[in-house]
Amino acid sequence: MNVLRILRVSLRALARNKMRTFLTCLGIIIGVAAVIAMVSIGAGARAAVESRFAAMGTNLISVGGSHRSMGGVQTQTGQYNRLTIEDANAIAKLPSVEAISPSVRSRAQVVYGSKNWNTQIQGTGEAYPLVRKWDVVAGSYFDDSMVRSAAKVCVIGADIQKNLFDEGENPVGKTIRINKVPFLILGVFKAKGESGGFGSRDDMICVPYTTAIKRLQRAENIESIDVSAVSATKTTDAQNEITDLLRSRHRIGEGAEDDFQVRNMAEIAEGAAEATGILTILLGSIASISLLVGGIGIMNIMLVSVTERIREIGIRMSIGARERDILLQFLAEAIVLSLLGGILGIALGVGVSKLLKYISIFSSITTMVSWTSVLLAFLFSGSVGIFFGFYPARKASKLDPIEALRYE
């Protein structure tokens, strides 16, 4: 029997019991749709993360504290921190470094008039907009002298303007209270928007890091230093210069571990993308389980179908069907079932992925249908058909023609 003929025979058999065919397909439809939708959510998150880091610029380097072994006990990364303002100033003088901004972070309650909001307070240097490639659209950023004098000034993110000020009200020149300390608003950052599941980047306020240390945190050291290299190609040079500088400043002997971390954005992005990759795999595997269940449904129905058609199998064998002919006939039915389910499932999965953003509670989820996942789902559903169809088909092909003919 050639492929087309086998296909026609199996289609005819499936058309005889349309409701059963549809219900059997449904298991595969749901499985494939779930895999595609889940993978598209994961891929969407990954794309969002990547674009977010790309927007920060590839010449951005982050210098942070490192974990350190204290008597054999490893402390949490970043907990032990010896980065100082002097370190930051020394880094600023390195040849491959364009600008630096020391960073101190905390959360605080912010009050303006009768409204209040809880947000992230970012202590930065005056070069922060340059280092982070983030423009101030209204007003201006604080300058060098304000940083030195630990002035009570701030620049707010677009979300803060939205949440604390009435529409049309200009926040520049107003005073807000951060942890009860009054701060003068100098400017507003350009809105960056949502980023796939990681919250808004516009929900933050920048103050001079000196002010943050003195008035908000009462800490001595800075947490990290944002550094921009003079160009993207100089990023590696800058990283090496910073590492050498900090090792000598911190008097770290030959062979000893760094007590700081120097990472460029590409590396950080890679780490974050890896995390979303794991998320994708996790979501995908959960969805695959439903595909597996769908496969078992096919096996079940094929076994029923073989039992119902024992006599037909006997007739076919008596007029010359070989084992292979019977095996292929039933295997083809299982594969047609699963591929049919696969195609409908792809349509449903792609549809769900595309429509997800129109449902309000999911609106912040970015989805990206990858054609590899569609192809994989299709091939996987085909394999499910072969895998779960083989046992019933083999059972059919091994029937004894005499008993099959006698079967009532």
Binding site: E312, R316, M317, I319, I402
Partner: protein, 227 residues
């Protein structure tokens, strides 16, 4: 081509049912020359169905040898037997054994599907075969739309399709009234006379048995009489 279509040499068939051994055939030998029309007769349990299954290559003997058209069948495997059934034997059963919800034409052309014949040739040969048994114009009817006699004629058309040397009929008239039985037997006689196709038929009805050229009577797994 052998001048003897069937040669049976001391066929023995034993089944194990639970712990007891059932000896269905206890040494059957016979020769059926090409063009013969034999009726195998006997009560139920006489071994005639077992013999029929072996002759039809659906079953293999426990011992003894069976030559079909000069070829030793006893040594062949399942798939080779399927090929023999497809090419050399046409089956006609008591219960017709047509595929349900399938047209007469589709039922008739079924053997050619397993013989890898093109669609065009299949249809042409199936149509010719159907008109040979007087079913011209009924090819698009489904199995359940046909009377018993018509269904048996479709079965005969199907049996004839691969131009077999041998037709095996297992109680072909068992489910039919006497008028229809007569029509079916007429078709068999015509095929035997005009086409020279050998026919082996199992029956327990004496009036059907007399239509054959020769009768083999079986009892307890042995041939007891021939006439």
């Amino acid at each position: 081509m052998d001048k003897n279509i069937i040669r049976l040499e001391n066929l023995i068939k034993t089944y194990i049912v639970g712990e007891t051994e059932v000896r269905a055939l206890r040494g059957v030998s016979n020769i059926v020359p090409a063009g013969d029309f034999v009726a195998i007769m006997g009560a139920s349990g006489s071994g005639k169905s077992t013999l029929m299954n072996i002759i039809g290559c659906l079953d293999k003997p426990t011992d003894g040898r069976y030559f079909l058209d000069g070829e030793d069948i006893s040594t062949l495997d399942r798939n080779a037997l399927a090929g023999i059934r497809n090419k050399k034997i046409g089956f006609v059963f008591q219960s017709f054994n047509l595929l349900p919800r399938t047209t007469a034409l589709e039922n008739t052309e079924l053997p050619l599907i397993y013989a890898n014949v093109t669609h065009k040739e299949r249809t042409a040969r199936a149509m010719a075969s159907l008109s040979a048994v007087g079913l011209k114009g009924r090819e698009a009817h489904r199995t359940n739309q046909l009377s018993g006699g018509e269904q048996q004629r479709v079965a005969i058309a199907r049996a004839l399709l691969n131009r077999p040397r041998l037709i095996l009929a297992d109680e072909p008239t068992g489910n039919l009234d006497s008028k229809t039985s007569d029509e079916i037997m007429n078709i068999f006689e015509k095929l035997n006379h005009e086409e020279g196709i050998s026919i082996v038929m199992v029956t327990h009805e004496a009036d059907i048995g007399v239509r054959a050229k020769r009768r083999i009577h079986m009892k307890d797994g042995l041939i007891v009489r021939e006439d």
